[in-house]
């Protein structure tokens, strides 16, 4: 599966709905296998006003759609865009039928030049989060092929929850997160390899997109 995500910050957040409608129509015209275009929840951090996420069967479909989407996001109504295109990485689904839940994506940037063995270690530990934090119903960790925005995003960490409480509660407060995984992100820890600038964005979803 080939995927594309855009986190769109608008100059006037009142225009979210109209832009979302335009993007949905465009994605349908490009035969997106799955799409999720929704306003972000409060609590997102550098996550934009609008989260737009798409899956395609073929790489060329994904790249064609990205090219078609770009002009829509280059208008004065759009203040900034962070985004990635990527091929699905490894993932898991404990609740593939999850409906009316919350989709969350984290865009992160591992420092250039980081030892590949360390990157693999970070990825392996991250992939174990759903094992310890069962509020994560469905998930996927991918490496970005292309990135736009504030950083050279290298990874896409997606999760789905039954509700926002799963993200704000168990995900954040479980010791596997703060006492294990976070050292890769924490500027006070010598193990840090991830840039402090992150895009943390979440929104309501009608059906699973992972």
């Amino acid at each position: 599966m080939y995927k594309l995500t855009r986190l769109v910050t608008l100059t006037d957040s009142a225009s979210v709905s109209a832009l979302a409608d335009e993007i949905r129509v465009l994605a349908a015209a490009h035969s997106a296998y799955r799409q999720l275009v929704a306003p972000t929840h409060a609590g997102s951090h550098f996550g934009g006003d609008l989260l737009a996420h798409f899956s395609f069967d073929a790489e060329v479909q994904c790249s064609d759609f990205g090219a078609a989407l770009a002009p829509l996001l280059a208008t004065p109504a759009v203040a900034s865009v962070d985004g990635v295109s990527y091929q699905s990485g490894s993932g898991g689904r404990s609740d593939p039928g999850l409906a009316n839940g919350v989709y969350r994506v984290l865009l992160l940037s591992v420092d250039e030049g980081t030892d590949p063995a360390l990157v693999a270690h970070f990825e392996a530990e991250t992939r174990m989060m759903p094992h310890y934090i069962t509020a994560i119903r469905n998930w996927q960790l991918s490496r970005a092929d292309d990135a736009i925005g504030a950083r050279r995003w290298t990874h896409v960490w997606e999760q789905e929850y039954a509700d926002a409480g799963g993200l704000m509660g168990p995900y954040m407060m479980h010791p596997y997160h703060w006492a294990r995984i976070d050292r890769w992100f924490d500027p006070e820890c010598p193990d840090r390899i991830v840039d402090a600038r992150l895009c943390h964005s979440f929104c309501t979803m009608e059906a699973s997109v992972l």
Binding site: G169, H174, P175, W178, P187, P190, A196
Partner: protein, 121 residues
């Protein structure tokens, strides 16, 4: 998630273990206390213990310094993390300290009796 909101959050510990460059142990300890500790306290950390190994100041070999801090639960940990992680003075301190250290570890821990409650989220 626990439903007893009145319960005191289990204490968590942040432990810094710094192996100083030979002859740097005492000066690094003094700087840690002068430059890092005040800000850490302001971020809610309580300095519980300092250990020096071996218990003498070496001038041609490394001393290992261990600092054990406590925090009032995972919520306090995140508060410390968000503030410290966005403070350029903290980053500058660690860059300086790392230049004077052979190696450094920071890890987080709890009393074994608190593991179950910490995981009940």
């Amino acid at each position: 998630m626990t439903t007893d909101d009145t319960a005191v959050a289990p204490t968590v510990h942040a432990i810094d273990e710094i192996v100083a460059k030979p002859g740097e142990g005492k000066a690094l300890l003094d700087d840690y206390l002068a430059r890092y500790a005040p800000g850490a306290r302001a971020r809610g950390m309580v300095l519980e213990q300092i250990l020096v190994s071996p218990p003498m100041w070496l001038d041609d070999q490394s001393n290992t310094l261990v600092f054990r801090w406590s925090l009032a639960g995972a919520g306090a940990w995140w508060q410390m993390r968000f503030v410290g992680g966005n403070d350029p003075d903290v980053a500058a301190w660690w860059a300086d300290a790392d230049a004077r250290a052979v190696s450094r570890r920071r890890y987080f821990a709890s009393d074994p009796a608190d593991v179950e409650r910490l995981c009940d989220v």
